[in-house]
């Protein structure tokens, strides 16, 4: 990867990382985090770690970030409330944590071996082709079983989340009766978590 490109990508990474912590709206913070992670994925690919780059994009941006977004929507988080006195302890520990991380980074950079002294991996190491080779030979059974596992998760989610009226053979009148001693009606969706909020 040319040095200019790296500097460009690194600048975007730092800027978007700052965006994560400096913005007020959680959704904006999250979008900045997505940008950071995507930028890192591009860097990985530029450095030749194609598989890691794609995994970064798929797993972090595709799956984990969407999960974050769901949680934010579910809890209906608004712009954060700053300036409370109890935030002081949080800030203190944040500063201490950042200091520890910087110290660790410094130690690693000083002690890092020069690229010349490193073992070079075999040519196709970490490539998509070698990943596919491993998945479809040695780990074929685990791979296929995982696809079934995802199918089970989908079936289970549908079975649990389907509207009760659609489930089973109960007519609406029967369905309204509690099924067992501890039975209760399905909880109605209360409007309070929509109307409420922290802002």
């Amino acid at each position: 990867m040319p040095l200019g490109l790296f500097i460009f990508l690194a600048a975007i990474a730092v800027l978007s990382a700052l965006g994560v912590i400096l913005q007020r709206n959680p959704v904006h913070c999250l979008l900045a985090l997505v940008l950071t992670l995507l930028d890192m994925a591009v860097m990985f690919i530029g450095l030749g770690a194609v598989t890691v780059g794609f995994l970064q994009a798929i797993v972090y941006v595709g799956a984990i970030m969407v999960l974050f977004l769901f949680v934010i929507w579910l809890l209906n988080l608004q712009a954060e409330d700053r300036g409370g006195s109890r935030q002081l302890a949080l800030k203190f520990f944040g500063v201490v944590g950042a200091a520890v991380l910087i110290a660790e980074l410094f130690v690693f950079l000083v002690k890092a071996p020069s690229p010349a002294g490193m073992n070079h991996p075999p040519p196709l190491f970490g490539s998509i082709a070698s990943l596919a080779g491993a998945l479809f030979t040695n780990y074929l059974i685990a791979f296929e079983a995982t696809s079934l596992l995802l199918l089970v998760a989908v079936i289970g989610a549908v079975a649990l989340a389907r509207h009760p009226a659609a489930a089973g053979s109960l007519s609406p009148a029967q369905g309204a009766q509690p099924v067992a001693s501890g039975g209760s009606e399905a909880r109605p969706v209360t409007p309070e978590h929509k109307a409420g909020g922290m802002g």
């Binding site: 080779g133 685990a142 079936i155 001693s181």
Partner: protein, 498 residues
Amino acid sequence: MAQLNLAAISYSWLPICPLAIVAVSAMIVLLVGVHVRDDESESLGALTLVLLSFAFMFTLGLLGRSGIAFAGAISIDNFATFFELTILLSVALVVLMSIEYAPALGISAAEYYALLLFSTLGMMLMATAGDLIVIFVGFELMSIGVYVLAGFLRRNVKSSEAAIKYFILGAFSTGFLLYGIALIYGATGTIKLAAISAALAGPLATNPLLLSGLGLLLIGFAFKVAAVPFHMWTPDAYEGAPTPVTAFMAVGVKLGAFAAFLRIFMVHLNLASAHWSWVLWVIAALTMTLGNLSALVQTNIKRMLAYSAIAHAGYILVGMAAAGPQAGGAILYYLLGYAFTNLGAFAVVIALERRGTAGDRISDYRGLAARHPALAGVMTLFLLSLTGVPPLAGFLGKFYIFSAALNMGMIWLVIIAVLNSVVSAYYYIRVIVAMYMQEGGAEPSPLDSRPALIAALTVAAIATVLIGLYPNPYMAGALHAFTSAFGAVSPTAALLVR
């Protein structure tokens, strides 16, 4: 593009035939279920039974075969086949119990039977796995299906509570298991069980990384077999889940988890038994004692059977602590008898359960003998077998396990186990006393309209007596199954696995 070296792997379909049949069956049931009307869901149960019997036939054909397939991911031997057959039989009984139960409670049949079959697939995968990744995926396949099944009564708060508790704690235990696998991989550089056991012969045997990995693996399995101190979820999950699912959890999940547990520890990590045997000693003693003492005070029969299941896991762990081929064979025999006995007991619970007021209190069993002598009779049979009264299956299972432990010099553990059996007699016989010597109680819904449940009860009762009266073929089969798995770990076999 790198060329895939396909020739280096043996893609023999034979060893995974039963697995493939069960997987395809689950999808067939799901697809057919779309076209089956809700009031005809019995036919879906019947279809599931037919498909299961296909899988059973194919598995029977695998008896006596042994070998390694798919680069060591699948190891087929009589040990795996024995477990697969037992699991398939248990699931068939669970399906029989569900056929009339599911429509009565408004359970949507297609998803129910499909998830049951997928969980079965996970159990069979655990029984026949040759490496830790396949065991892990099988573990998850089994667990996720059962989490959902436990919460199938969506209008019932207890069912939802059972599913949530089981899911949260189960996910936690999966984390332990996966971390253990990662540490073992870090220590030995392989996930193939045969290669790990070969590595144990070398200087790695006391590697702290490997031993911590073993410890975490043990915690993961102890969660699934409900051993103390990882048993907290059991009573709530067993009580809240639909009763056929409870039976499935008490028997099927235990079979699957013990299959992998036994294969990893007693077969492949046998060389390191000095490191884990004493841990299992302690866990076994705690599990038996706590399970039996807690069962004494239960008033709900499903909770009582849950604590009884914990206690039985303790008896099996006594055999595991003894670590040897004799104990292994005894455990397999024990599990076979336990499966039928426990499924039978849960089938009686289903017979007494009714809509609205679930008849699952022990007081509901009062006077059952006067109203339904046959039902009370088979319940007595199952409870006596669980207690360990000769000549039923439960007695010989305990006898073989305890004598194997005695042969290994674990006198104190056997004394604790026998004392526990005496304690357990109290709460099992309390139900029998209620059925025969007390008045009142609940009226079970008429059995005449439930032929599938009667079939399940009959099969379980006959098997409980038969396995106890003619133990020799089963015990010989179990012993042979276990020793054949031992044979597969000879150094030459380990070398074959790359």
